[in-house]
Symmetry: C2
Subunit: 229 residues, 2 copies
């Protein structure tokens, strides 16, 4: 991976060219197709990843095959950083692997593996990158907090409404295009495809949205937002 691409990755944005170059020399780049596994939660930890192109889902699976998507990782975002800090000396007990599974959900998804040991060394001498790591974790913690809030305090149709409202880049935007399949969306929203399908229809019947394949037009943003809360 060229070091100027690394600059786009949030946690690396404060590094100088020297440091970037150093990193770019030790990372490993891999390409995956839709449906390919990047790692399982059962594997030993190797390091964290950067998604440099494509889309990655982070998900859990139960013994009877039910899936739940925890995160969707878009380009220039990192994933699987958590175990970096769990296997430090003095940090609790145990040897931790990946917290969940990761799968590419677009063809030609390119990910960059940053080996754990080297990165930790860099971290110890670089407060800036360390604070950025904290900021990244903070963002993710708030996201998970909100995700749990949605899952436990709202019914399915309110979760769907909330998802659509939040997919907008701005308050004015009235059309969104789903970046994932409806199967994956239902898994992310803690439901199943059948229920999602029915729910979208219901929101359409009530005049809040119009669904056309992957494109959803918001016909009454105020009502939709209010309904979702």
């Amino acid at each position: 991976m060229a070091s100027d691409n690394l600059k786009k990755v949030y946690i690396f944005s404060g590094l100088d060219d020297n440091e970037l170059d150093k990193i770019s020399k030790i990372v490993k780049v891999k390409t995956f197709n839709k449906g390919d596994i990047i790692f399982f939660d059962t594997e030993p930890y190797k390091g964290f990843y950067i998604n440099s192109a494509g889309l990655v889902k982070i998900y859990k699976i139960s013994k009877d095959g039910k899936e739940h998507i925890l995160h969707l990782i878009t380009a220039n975002n990192t994933f699987a950083e958590v175990p970096l800090f769990e296997n430090l000396s003095g940090t609790l007990s145990g040897n931790f692997g990946y917290p969940a599974n990761a799968m590419a959900i677009e063809d030609n998804t390119r990910v960059v593996l940053v080996p754990a040991r080297l990165f930790l060394e860099m971290l110890e001498s670089n407060t800036k990158i360390c604070i950025k790591m904290c900021a990244g974790f903070a963002k993710r913690l708030r996201h998970l907090n909100n995700h749990i809030e949605e899952l436990t305090l709202k019914d399915v149709s309110r979760r769907v409404a909330g998802y659509i409202i939040n997919e907008r880049r701005s308050e004015e935007q009235n059309k969104i295009s789903l970046s994932i399949s409806k199967n994956d969306l239902s898994s992310y929203l803690g439901t199943i495809p059948e229920t999602l399908s029915r729910t979208l229809k219901k929101l359409q019947d009530e005049g809040m949205i119009e669904v056309d394949g992957k494109v959803i037009r918001i016909t009454d943003a105020v009502k939709l937002k209010q309904y979702s809360e």
Copy 2:
């Protein structure tokens, strides 16, 4: 708060006496009784907290009054650190408040408020504390991941079984004592008191546990563990 007490707090464990003393001089100590609010998620952010004695619940409430407990904070643990890193320059947009509500759930709960600005200054010049902050976040992220996994992939009785199994300090321990009310436990497990009550009875009828008030004796740990997975 005496600076030797601060040492027990994980993120401060690497600091020397000088630094600890500096912190202990600028913190504010407050005492709360059962049911007292420490902060609401609507308040402007002041800083993060240390629970120095007692028990604190971090929770969300929906408009129609449903509650869900995200975390239980025991003594010498910190909470509300997330917004520290969300209001940094260069870190996204917006001004973030507390991510959830906090309430004391034991009498004489003592909490220590660490003002945000001072702590951030300290962080910038101290990599050790910064890495510990990352480690604390990592631990919490894994916890939330697991919490979501439980909530979305398991039914109530499996969640209850899993909770009981995980409350044990060791594999040998066959008796646990609930540190919170069954009302709060049901809220943490994503259900309601009635259902929790029935579920405990069911697990008892199937010979896995014996319930006596707040004390739960595990009568068949193997079966209980297997059932929970």
